[in-house]
Subunit: 798 residues, 2 copies
């Protein structure tokens, strides 16, 4: 029997008299906001009002009644406490918590009373706790404060997130009362699959005082169900099942774009003479490995699902709120759906956030989104020289691996974010024995070998090759661009084997910006705006890249739009390059899908789930087919990237226009597109494209030691190329200009439009490199490169 | 007898018929401009019209008469030809030239005729010559084109200069006719100096066919002259003198700010039975060494002149025009005077330019400006694996060392600019045997040991320590700021032993910008403006630093002014830091003093010798006494840096104002200032300064992983500190604000002014961080931080 203790609690700051109403799951921050004692931390600069809470302690109290305490097992379960707390039931001290990522279970056989009970959780300042640990352990290394506490690292402030040190009971609390029967550690492992047959093994521990009288596995594929009665074994740890099940004509789980992400439900039921229990495992049938083979470039890093090479397309995922308990299942449904709609097939759960809510993995399972799962360490050295720290982490790892291992979406475990890169390049400590490496290199491989041998484990992101951030092997974070200020054209020089991070900032949706930045502060350098840009010199970078691409904004609105335009152009260029390089490069996950508050960041979807220009672009650049235009050696070329596992035929239309709207060139081709690769579909000297004018212009260009005038035919600066590829009656488009916008001889676009029901229909008369529709909600397509002759019919409801 | 062949010549492109008028010294570019065949290359984007000349060959012809050819020695002398040429006299082929930095002498005994002579110089394309050498020598290294030719490297385009490959007879041409008597290799070496006595040795070769009948040295100190009759020796190379001369109560040569740069003239006269010749050497009496001693930070790098440690203050020098023959003595007089007036004591002649005209060194001698003299190699690998290249360079080095070694201003020879840094960090080739190192590490030390053992030699700039750009030893180029995009506050972390380069860009003087940028292109991103910014992403950096310091410009004028303001603030901060660190840091030479054309660059003086904000600031930050204000650990401190060799007493006035013009605090102190060091003159907790308001503001600040709100008392953001130090009745001022302007609560400044004769008198009513006077010519002081109560009387004539 489970008695839920969520809902209304009361709380007070330790040392104060009065109690206030609290909610569980929740946190101090949220309760204070709900009480009106603190304002919305995301508005203006309100964030600063929350800093003081960090050093305070709070007491949470729940009174509850229990009618019946006549059970052999009585446990109080906390799904999650953030982070440091002491727990009392009816003044019995139950224990202490110090890990946000752990589920805590306390035996309350002695403390629990029939009738009224008082549960008290004293939440202690994580800052003070870190100081305490620091002074006890006296390391010779200076770990940052956040390293001492197993708490989401981003809450200490990140370069896209506010500093809000959430303190609270952030997940459910309940009593578990029963007589000993429990199904635990359930694990459905795929042993092999083929078109005809999948073999799985279903494992579970059956905790009970006597041998269970009946155990049943019911397998349900969505239409039909089959029952299996597994043998029950006994070991020194108790009873368990480990049943091999053959599934004929299995429906496999495929990543988005490659087929259906079919799921199977395994319901395990166990009975004893006086109890019955069931556990459901929803999982998919798929194999996964990372192909690491020596090749001419070094060593490959290619995800292979069900025997097929998959180019990973997607983004990095961060917690979707800085106040976690506000997140609901619908938020996850919506965000994962958006990732799917953007033709992504992989998200990386970044190590500075949280092991996500079940909702996240459920939705990824259902939508075919592969998950690269980091363990929660990021950008720091960690005190694993101390056993207390490692022991704490081992519990966390065991709990989380068991919790998550049945999700087919998870395709990789990864030790941490950027710490091994940091050892080498930031802290200059080579490849140390401790400082985190004990965990990444020893502890985790051992735990995973035991609890989940079905997935590859990767020491860190990035990792592989002689240098942790090598482009010869493993994955790479490409940050010389943006973080290193380099121009985004240098993405074209990146030969990473798998780009697990690269990114470019832009403001949030204009409406979001305006909602959270007071009108008077809607200027580019207001302190308020600058507080909504969390990267050191982030605003300077935004401006620098605008200046290098298109020019300076004239006002706040154009600042927002230009930032989004440049972000989209930069990431478009990068993804085109990476995909064209497949499988020398085998994945492109941009930093970052989402936001945890309203901020200027690298995200494509803002905090309010509003779409930035990059989101619209993502759909196109991540589509199954991508035509890419390049100007190489005096030739205009069109490449077609295919992620389709079958060969296909496509119809390719190429038109070239000047900005006055004259069509200068058109070509129609039938293209044979080989499966899962890249083909050059078109190549023609520019002389033959009717665009040259024989009139020379000079544009400033860097050559060797200086910027000199680079001679270019005026026609190239006045032209825009559109390609349109039809495969299976679906259109895949792209555009190309010969120079950055700042160098082009652009003209204002002319177009007609009309509204029809829920649609806007736009008819461009001249080409546009970016046509923006302003509407109260996000529309189906936006920030469009618009080709004359084409009618754009766009659903205004998204 | 010398017959000058300068003046009117004629020239034509090889292959063309018609000749046009030419000037020597001069160059093709200048002749074509003078003829009106090409426009001013510095206006708008005219530079691009000059690129075509690079691949062409030109023929220069001079007809001249010689009355008397009855001499034993007949030489045709070219002081400088740029660069590749073949020379014919009366159709006799005299030889080829291939080094711009060499003086060429041809024996014309056979070719010279009495009466009419025709001299022809065929100037060949340096580009084609490089290609020819490349294909002959077939190196496994890919040297840049410019490395093959001993020609000023900046002419190929530099990150502050246009690409104008000067081609021409850039220095004087003459016939030398005599009967064998020549005084050569004259060298006045200081052997020792004290207050009472200087001992010098005067060396010279006396070329002649018979032993000279009389040799005399006349020594003139400006007031008195003394004659010495040295012994004439004979060696296998001929006759020579090597006379030891004692000078009592010598007037020493001191760097600017340390005393007079006294000069002595040594006139050497030699006679034979039928000839007489004299040579004058003007030199100064001084010793120089670089103190390299191990200390707590590594190894010092301190210039010591006449036994005194000198903190080197100054800048880097580049050629003052991209068309060199336009430069005249007055240009050098003016520029070196400006350096002196800015309280500089050192200029570095950078290795990508030229060994300067004699005028330069003469003026540095006279003005007490020390010269760090690079050999002409910059930012490249050089083909010294080939003997032809090394032999060519040996001639160059021998010629230039002999030419320059009598100048007291030169205090250091340096092998090259940044090539050893490049080996390590840019081209990743460690410390190679060739690629330039043969010259820097073997050839040059040998030549200098022979020809000038009186000065230190430094392998490269930067060089010293384990890493060529180490901050532990040797000199350093601090480019992580600006080139590396880092914020300029990071100058404070630079513990270089000697900073031979660091810099920050700004636009030229507004008038200069407007003169060379057509009105329609006076926008921040016009292609024309961008062609006047030669650094890759230079404009982006300008904007980025403006954004980080004060905000974005609203128009072209404010772009120019803001750029200059930020440049001045950045270099002020750096120089204050470096000087306060004396002698752990022993020099600060900013990049760069001057310009070679109208450009946005790191210079403080623009091409038209107009002063940028930094120029005015340089006077102050390089002054003998510099009060520096710091806010450290909650205390406001004033340090006084002294470059005076005697202890002094000063009167220090400290006032603090708010931007409304209220004086919040004032303190007057008498300060004992020890010689040649730094003293803390004032330290007070801000609580005691009457500026705190107890009202807290938050400013965005980067802490660890994010930008968070940093709590700061509003009073600090509304205050400005002025310090005024009087020593020997001279005022030395400084100002300080607690944050960057973008974070301050600034208000528009209020002031009164009036004009009196040639002066403007300004009376500020409220403080200003930067008060700009717009006038048709440069005024005495500008870009002023203005303190109320003070009357600023500024000469409008500069």
């Amino acid at each position: 029997m489970r008695i839920n203790l969520d809902g209304k609690w009361k709380f007070r700051e330790v040392g104060q008299n009065e109690y206030y109403e609290a909610s569980v799951p929740g946190c101090v921050q949220l309760d204070l906001i709900n009480l009106g004692k603190l304002p919305d931390p995301f508005y203006a600069t309100n964030e600063v009002l929350f800093y003081d809470l960090e050093e305070k302690d709070f007491e949470y109290v729940k009174e509850f009644d229990v009618d019946n305490v006549d059970f052999q097992v009585k446990k109080l379960v906390f799904e999650g406490i953030d982070t440091v707390s002491e727990i009392y039931l009816n003044d019995h001290y139950l224990g202490k918590t110090d890990n946000m990522f752990l589920k805590y279970e306390f035996d309350v056989s002695l403390a629990l009373k029939k009738g009224k009970n008082i549960l008290k959780v004293v939440l202690l300042s994580p800052i003070k706790e870190a100081e305490r640990l620091k002074s006890i352990y006296q390391s010779s290394y200076s770990y940052p404060q956040r390293s001492w506490i197993r708490k989401s690292q981003y809450s200490y402030g990140w370069d896209w997130g506010p500093r809000i040190l959430q303190i609270g009971i952030w997940k459910s609390v309940y009593l578990e009362l029963h007589n000993g029967l429990e199904i635990q550690d359930e694990f459905v492992k795929v042993e092999s699959i083929s078109d005809e047959l999948a073999i799985v093994r279903v494992f579970a521990k059956i905790n009970c005082f006597e041998k269970p009288s009946e155990v049943e596995i019911e397998l349900f594929d969505g239409s039909f169900s089959v029952k299996v009665f597994p043998e029950v074994y006994k070991s020194k740890d108790g009873y368990f099942i480990d049943e091999r099940i053959e599934i004929e004509n299995p429906k496999l789980w495929w990543p988005n774009g490659y087929g259906e992400p079919s799921l199977y439900e395994f319901k395990i039921t166990a009975k004893t003479s006086n109890e019955a229990q069931e556990k459901k495992v929803t999982t998919g049938l798929r194999t996964v490995r990372v192909i690491k083979e020596k090749d001419e470039y070094g060593e490959s890093f290619i995800f292979e699902i069900n025997g097929k090479k998959i180019f990973a397309k997607g983004a990095n995922w961060i917690p979707a709120d800085s106040i976690l308990p506000r997140l609901k299942e619908d938020d996850y449904k919506e965000l994962i759906k958006m990732a799917k709609d953007a033709n992504m097939n992989m998200l990386r759960v970044w190590g500075g956030g949280i092991y996500e809510y079940d909702w996240f993995y459920d939705e990824c399972d259902k939508n075919g989104i592969m998950v690269w799962q980091d363990f929660m360490f990021a950008c720091a050295i960690y005190p694993d020289e101390f056993d207390f720290f490692v022991e704490n982490f081992i519990k966390e790892a065991e709990y989380q691996i068991k919790r998550l291992r049945n999700h087919p979406c998870i395709v990789l475990w990864c030790g941490n974010n950027e710490n091994n890169w940091g050892f080498r390049d930031w802290w200059h400590i080579g490849d140390p024995e401790f400082l985190g490496n004990r965990i990444y290199k020893k502890v985790l491989p051992e735990i995973l070998a035991k609890l989940d041998p079905t997935r590859p484990y990767h020491i860190s992101s990035p990792y592989g090759g002689e240098h942790p951030n090598s482009e010869k092997a493993g994955d790479k974070h490409t940050w010389d661009i943006w973080a290193g200020w380099k121009d985004y054209i240098y993405y074209k020089h990146d030969n990473a084997r798998f780009v697990s991070e690269f990114g470019f900032q832009a403001a949030a949706h204009l409406d979001t910006m305006k909602k959270y930045i007071p009108l008077k502060d809607q200027t580019i350098f207001s302190k308020t705006l600058r507080m909504h840009e969390k990267q050191e010199e982030g605003l300077e970078r935004l401006i620098r890249y605008m200046a290098g691409s298109i020019g300076l904004p004239k006002d706040f609105d154009s600042f927002v739009y230009l930032s989004q335009f440049v972000q989209k152009e930069a990431i478009k260029l990068a993804v085109e390059h990476y995909r064209k390089n497949k499988f020398a490069t085998a994945g492109a996950l941009y930093w970052q899908l989402n936001d945890c508050w309203p901020v200027i960041s690298w995200s494509s979807i803002d905090y309010l789930k509003r779409r930035k220009a990059l989101y619209y672009e993502s759909k196109r650049i991540f589509a199954k087919f991508l035509p890419v235009v390049e100007y190489e050696d005096g030739k205009l070329k069109v490449y077609i990237v295919s992620d389709e596992l079958e060969p296909k035929q496509g119809k390719l239309n190429i038109t070239i226009w000047n900005f006055d709207g004259q069509k200068l060139y058109e070509k129609n081709l039938t293209v044979e597109i080989p499966e899962n690769s890249v083909v050059e579909a078109f190549s023609e000297k520019v002389e033959n494209l009717n665009i040259l004018k024989g009139e020379w212009l000079y544009i400033p260009k860097h050559v060797e030691t200086a910027v000199i005038g680079d001679k270019i035919d005026r026609g190239l600066l006045e032209s825009i190329v559109f390609v349109s590829l039809f495969v299976d009656r679906v259109e895949y488009e792209n555009y190309f200009v010969f120079e950055k916008p700042i160098n082009l001889e652009l003209k204002p676009s002319q177009f007609e439009y009309r509204i029809e029901d829920d649609h806007i229909i736009i008819k461009p008369k001249t080409p546009a490199i970016c046509l923006i529709i302003e509407a109260d909600r996000d529309v189906e397509n936006n920030f469009i490169f618009a080709r004359p002759e084409k009618e754009y019919k766009i659903n205004l409801n998204g």
